[in-house]
């Protein structure tokens, strides 16, 4: 506590830290270490063993990792998770941007409409997925049969080739509002004059969108993409509610695969999977942050 007093800094006139600041920070650090750091280190430790979750275990070096990369179930879960995340991020941002533009333009009943569009983000993902599950499995096929449509009479949730589509749709349904709110906040910062000036020069709406709106909110687009990826990569609730990973294992996300470590005896193996999952999540976040550097200015 006897650090050098900087003469330029007013705050450390007395040369030592007020003890209160330690009381404020240290408990948080201790709890954080116990709740986050210790489990993280424990996970890495067990990933080098053959533990089944309890009892004795041996060290197996990098064995788990070596098996992991050639395990088709694992590779599939990563491809599925990343693919669905990517698609959802794109869909969410396109829809959210259009809704935000609509809701900030000259319209009637603005408050009511905005209230409705934000609704999906305040309800629980798993519960609304149960509702959607009923719609996809019962309502849609029944409606298709009534209208004598040749397709859609079978539930898409039961089709290994199409079940992912339901997951993308429901995840998008729930993720649009938060992205939309960010875009609304971004759009109201663009001065009106810019649009008026461009209209005088003869620019039409699509041109204004591409040349004015998008460049001016690029920072917010990146934030939405980063936050979106962060959430979608660990997707779990909505899949449990819709397909529970099925049919077969066709919609099993990485998080679901990791949780199988509880009951299959693959404890250490899934610890290794968790570690890889974290590295991939972090890598994706860092790539995005790197791209955003220099662009995100506001």
């Amino acid at each position: 506590m006897s650090s050098v007093v900087s003469t330029t800094s007013k705050r450390r006139r007395r040369g030592r830290v007020e003890p209160m600041f330690y009381y404020f920070l240290v408990p948080a650090l201790v709890l954080f270490t116990l709740c986050i750091t210790v489990p993280a280190l424990m996970g890495i430790y067990y990933s080098f063993t053959d533990s089944i979750g309890f009892g004795e275990y041996n060290f197996v070096g990098l064995n788990n990792y070596a098996v992991l990369f050639s395990d088709p179930a694992i590779v599939k879960s990563y491809l599925f998770t990343i693919g669905v995340s990517l698609l959802t991020v794109i869909l969410v941002n396109v829809i959210a941007l259009f809704l935000a533009i609509g809701l900030t333009s000259q319209i009637k009943m603005r408050t009511a409409l905005r209230t409705i569009f934000v609704l999906p983000m305040v309800v629980s993902g798993i519960i609304i997925s149960f509702v959607f599950q009923f719609i996809f499995a019962n309502t849609v096929p029944a409606a298709a049969a009534n209208m004598h449509l040749p397709f859609l009479q079978e539930s898409i949730l039961a089709d290994p080739k199409l079940a992912w589509l339901a997951i993308v749709l429901v995840t998008t349904w729930q993720a649009v509002p938060s992205a939309m709110l960010i875009y609304i906040a971004a759009l109201v910062t663009i001065p009106n004059d810019v649009y008026e000036a461009s209209a005088l020069d003869g620019a039409h709406s699509p041109q204004q969108l591409m040349r004015i709106t998008l460049p001016m909110i690029s920072g917010y687009v990146l934030i939405n993409v980063i936050l979106g990826f962060k959430g979608f990569l660990s997707m779990y609730d909505i899949i449990v509610g819709l397909t529970n990973g099925g049919p077969g294992t066709s919609t099993r996300s990485v998080a679901m695969t990791i949780f199988t470590g509880f009951d299959t005896g693959d404890y250490a193996y899934q610890m290794a999977n968790s570690t890889i999952f974290f590295i991939i999540t972090l890598a994706i976040a860092l790539i995005q942050l790197r791209v955003s550097r220099g662009k995100a200015q506001f």
Partner: protein, 298 residues
């Protein structure tokens, strides 16, 4: 990602600001067309809720007919009665409320205090590195740590709602500290200086001057914490060992297995579980929207 949020920005202002600022030249007829288009889009949001309401008020005999959009005939509250007892609603609701209230309370207090210590001692290594340490978990999703945390929480007797509260607060810490430190930096240090001149202790200065000024950011943190802990499924389902201490979203899973054909009961239960957050949202929506936007734009 370094936008400044002015401390004096009242919460309501952002909502007002989003009033029409784009082109005003357009005629009212085009405003009505846009409104109509948006209203049509909003049907996709309302549809699942409509299905849930219509199903919940049917009798079991009518619900099984698979006509989701048929009006209940007669309107029946049998489903609600049965859902109430099956899910042990009062108890489950109490657990959910308890987890949410304490998560919100501790999220605000712990992160506000830690952030104050960090922001006001930024030039000291200990505080600066503590902040980096906490930020490192920003992109750490729960599934990565789940296996270790479930094991540890069992060892130390925290495999209950208390453990969930602790983990909710800790997982939110990174993001909340980021929000709070940026906010505290925008508060002039002269405030504390003058309070000290007047003989106020640092403790008193924090609680009577700084903490009240942080209200806008506290509201944002509280809303984020509230939404995520009330709607969380993954963490309570993994951590809480005793099924009688489960939260509302988790107990809904029972309708997927045991009572899968009593659609009126399951939908009544979903409605009961979603209603509190929807009602809370409708009454506090101005705060929710401006709070979420403020957090997101940081």
């Amino acid at each position: 990602m370094t936008a400044q949020v002015l401390p004096e920005t009242p919460l309501q202002e952002e909502v007002k600001n989003s009033a029409p600022r784009r082109r005003i030249r357009k005629s009212t007829s085009s405003a009505w067309i846009k409104t109509l288009l948006l209203a049509l889009c909003s049907l996709t949001v309302l549809l699942p809720f409509l299905v849930a309401v219509l199903m919940a008020f049917k009798t079991t005999d009518q619900a099984i007919l698979n006509q989701a959009f048929a009006l209940p005939k007669p309107w029946s509250i049998e489903g609600f009665k049965e859902a109430w007892t099956l899910t042990n609603f009062p108890r489950t609701f109490a657990v959910s409320v308890l987890i949410t209230v304490f998560t919100v309370l501790f999220s605000v207090l712990v992160s506000a205090m830690a952030s104050y210590a960090i922001a006001r001692n930024w030039k000291r290594k200990f505080f600066r590195f503590s902040s980096y340490y906490l930020m490192a978990a920003m992109f750490l999703p729960f599934p990565v740590l789940a296996l270790s945390q479930v094991k540890l929480s069992g060892y130390v007797g925290l495999d209950n709602p208390v453990g969930v509260i602790l983990l909710h607060v800790m997982f939110g810490l990174s993001f909340n500290v980021l929000l709070f430190t940026a906010f505290i930096r925008s508060l002039p240090e002269e405030l504390e200086e003058s309070a000290r001149m007047d003989g106020a202790s640092p403790w008193r200065t924090f609680w009577t001057i700084i903490f009240p000024l942080m209200l806008p950011m506290s509201a944002t943190v509280a809303i984020f914490a509230m939404l995520s802990s009330w709607n969380d499924f993954m963490m309570p389902s993994m951590i809480i060992a005793d099924p009688s201490l489960q939260t509302l979203p988790v107990v809904q899973k029972m309708f997927q297995t045991q009572f899968s054909n009593n659609y009126n009961v399951s939908f009544a239960s979903y409605l009961l579980a979603m209603a509190p957050s929807i009602v809370a949202y409708i009454f506090t929506q101005k705060w929710v929207m401006s709070g979420l936007t403020q957090g997101a734009v940081k």
